[in-house]
Amino acid sequence: MAKKPQDFESPQQTTKPIVPHADVERATVDAVNKSEYRSLYAAQKKIHPKRAKGTFRTIKWWVMIVTLGIYYLSPWIRWDRGPEIPDQAILVDITNSRFYFFFIEIWPQEVYYITGLLILAAIALFLVTSTAGRIWCGYTCPQTVWVDLFLVVERFVEGERNARIKLDNAPWSWSKLAKRTTKHIIWLVISVLTGGAWVFYMNDAPTLMAELIAFDAPLTTYFWIALLTFTTYILGGFAREQVCTYMCPWPRIQGVMMDNDTLSVMYKEDRGEPRAPHKKGDSWEDRGDCVQCRQCVVVCPMGIDIRDGLQLECIQCSLCIDACDEVMEKIGRPKGLIAYDSLANFDRRANNEPEKIQIIRPRTLFYTLLIIIVGGGIFYGLMNRADLEVNILRDRNPLFVQLSSGDIRNGYTIKILNKSHDIRRFSLSISGLPHYKMNVVGIQETTAEGLPVIEVGRDRLRSVKIYLTVPREDLTSDSINFTITAKDLGSDSISENITSFKGPKT
């Protein structure tokens, strides 16, 4: 640990007796980087947060219930999409390469919707951060929620803060062993459930549940459960605040989204200082409202002191607000010594101006505008998502084939993507090509006009090979552009695709 400057400049006297050598000048100095003065590594200091009571704790309980509820239960929500299509509301179907989210279905080539969704989530995070600071970190981040859940277990088994500290310092006994074992077993059960819930997003939940119970599920499933069990147990039970301080890049990034008007959990030092213990009946003149009870420190899951000001480690969970408000109420002072406040309000109070919460600012307006643009774009895209896509691939090897009659034949692969959940039938017609003959491999059915009919299954891609033959004398050029039209016989909607017919140089 680093020492104070006085230690640095006048190091300890050595206790060794001075060997008499009168002609050698001696100094009492140590190397500045001597091991006693500093360590390259800091040990994690165990934090035992006390449970807070109040508005924000209540909000956090509800956020915890909702977020955990979403995580554990949403794979079990059913959503009927018709026959042969999975009926799971949220499903990442890796085997069939589809992503289902309620009414949304995405094919792999439409992954830009997910990109858009991630961009939208990022901008929403920017907006929230610039408005009210680390809301994400303090309330909804999985790390925060699961640590909170693990703390519930810890408190339930080992008791409140003081009991836990006492247990930590106590020598090993049967009762300590029993408490520790119980705690870790419950943590592990939660971890297994966490990993277990994850795999349901990738598979049909009821089917997988039956397989898991029968030990009949694929090995990769067990691997994912084991991996997430391990990370949940380590990150929630042990790493805790270390994740936020050392592993997560987000605390370092979000500083750039904040300004003087951003609301943050802050200690109003102009009101609290000078701090000092206070006896009942003493005067509140010439002193601050902070009574040095340190309740804000003991409830802090990050183990920090909010009175040191805005700091990297603070995840802004607001529990210190609850703790301080409780104390203020007891001693009869106004609440809000620690509160959501902005740096600008510090200045306003210093200048005797009224406090103001300035949410509408150029920065927040800009983020809102971006959200509207990106969100609108995605929404428009999803609402107008074509459920039919036709791709024409012209054979390049060989470019064309000369038949024995001298006629020229070209081959095409037509890929029809039917993204709807109905079986659809399409007729193929050609326009812009003189005297052609069309042959579709493996298709016998035709319409009354003689056009080939191709049936494409629900949510399926079908590719068919077609051959077009044109008499040599009709080829006016070595490349003729023409149109292949696929017409949905059910809805009469059409997809026109321009391609070319190649022949020898004329």
């Binding site: 800091a42 060989p398 024995s404 009659s405 034949r409």
Partner: protein
């Protein structure tokens, strides 16, 4: 820039003495567990050397106690793929060719697997796009020496042409010059005659019709449309396997041509040959 470390009051930490544009670096200690993860990775690495193939030796490498080998994994995956294809292979085996062509699943499977098999076995002579080369027939067009129906294609692949199979397709065109059936002048005339059948710019010399009827019509038929029973090519169309110039034709008539195709029975399993036949049939020229 490196200066003396300074004490920073706010964080109660010294700086490293490094400074960039006024920004100083705090000498914050690393978390201890960070060091543990480093040790853990070292232990993992040592374990990995023991468990997995790792160190190169002079002629070999350390195999690792788990016996893992990527080659084995690939072999196992290929076997798995084969197993997965088995349902199709079995269906192909029991179905006749016409059924395969009319069944969407079997047709798609045959077209895909046939293409792969063609690339591995046939493309060497017929080209990857099956358009052939001089002496190697184009399989995309509608001109077939031995017939272009599904069954005929299947038979040709199975027994080959002038191959070693007992039932191989065989035909022997005489070498009209070396065998002294025709003299050089007659050969030149008959070559011009067969060219004139598809190329109107070439005139048939007088007497060439009679030479053709006496010497060639038996196999190539009177109207020169060929005979697939003998593998005798159609001479009336504009497709020439060995070149459409007079010199190539004269050479063919004078010295004969004997293209060879291996028989694939025994080299490819029957289901694969069926898939291949269907694939070739769907290349566009199938009859």
């Amino acid at each position: 820039m490196s200066n003396e470390p300074e004490y920073d009051e706010i964080t109660d930490t010294y700086t490293t003495g490094h400074e960039w544009d006024g920004v100083k670096e705090l000498d914050t200690p690393m978390p201890r567990w960070w060091l543990w993860t480093l040790y853990a990775t070292i232990i993992w690495a040592v374990g990995y050397w023991i468990a997995m193939p790792a160190w190169p030796l002079v002629n070999d490498y350390t195999k690792g106690v788990l016996g893992y080998s990527q080659r084995d994994v690939v072999a196992a995956q290929l076997n798995e793929a084969k197993e997965a294809r088995k349902i199709y292979s079995e269906k192909l085996l029991s179905a006749d060719l016409e059924t395969i062509k009319n069944d969407q699943d079997l047709l798609e499977f045959s077209m895909a697997s046939g293409k792969a098999v063609f690339g591995d076995n046939c493309a060497g002579c017929h080209g990857s796009g099956a358009s052939g080369a001089k002496g190697y027939p184009n399989l995309n067009d509608d001109d077939w020496l031995w017939g272009g129906s599904l069954d005929e294609i299947h038979e040709t692949i199975t027994v080959g042409i002038r191959g070693v199979h007992d039932d191989t397709r065989i035909s022997d065109m005489p070498a009209f010059l070396t065998d002294e059936f025709l003299d050089e002048g007659q050969i030149k005339d008959v070559a011009a005659y067969v060219t004139s059948l598809s190329d109107t710019s070439v005139a048939a010399p007088s007497g060439s019709f009679e030479i053709y009827q006496e010497n060639c019509a038996a196999c190539h038929s009177e109207d020169a449309t060929g005979n697939k029973d003998f593998g005798a090519p159609n001479l009336a169309d504009s497709i020439w396997l060995f070149g459409d110039d007079q010199q190539s034709l004269i050479s063919t008539i004078s010295y004969s041509r004997k293209g060879v195709m291996p028989s694939w029975a025994g080299r490819l399993d029957p289901a694969t040959i069926k898939a291949l036949a269907v694939y070739i049939h769907t290349l566009g020229g199938g009859e």
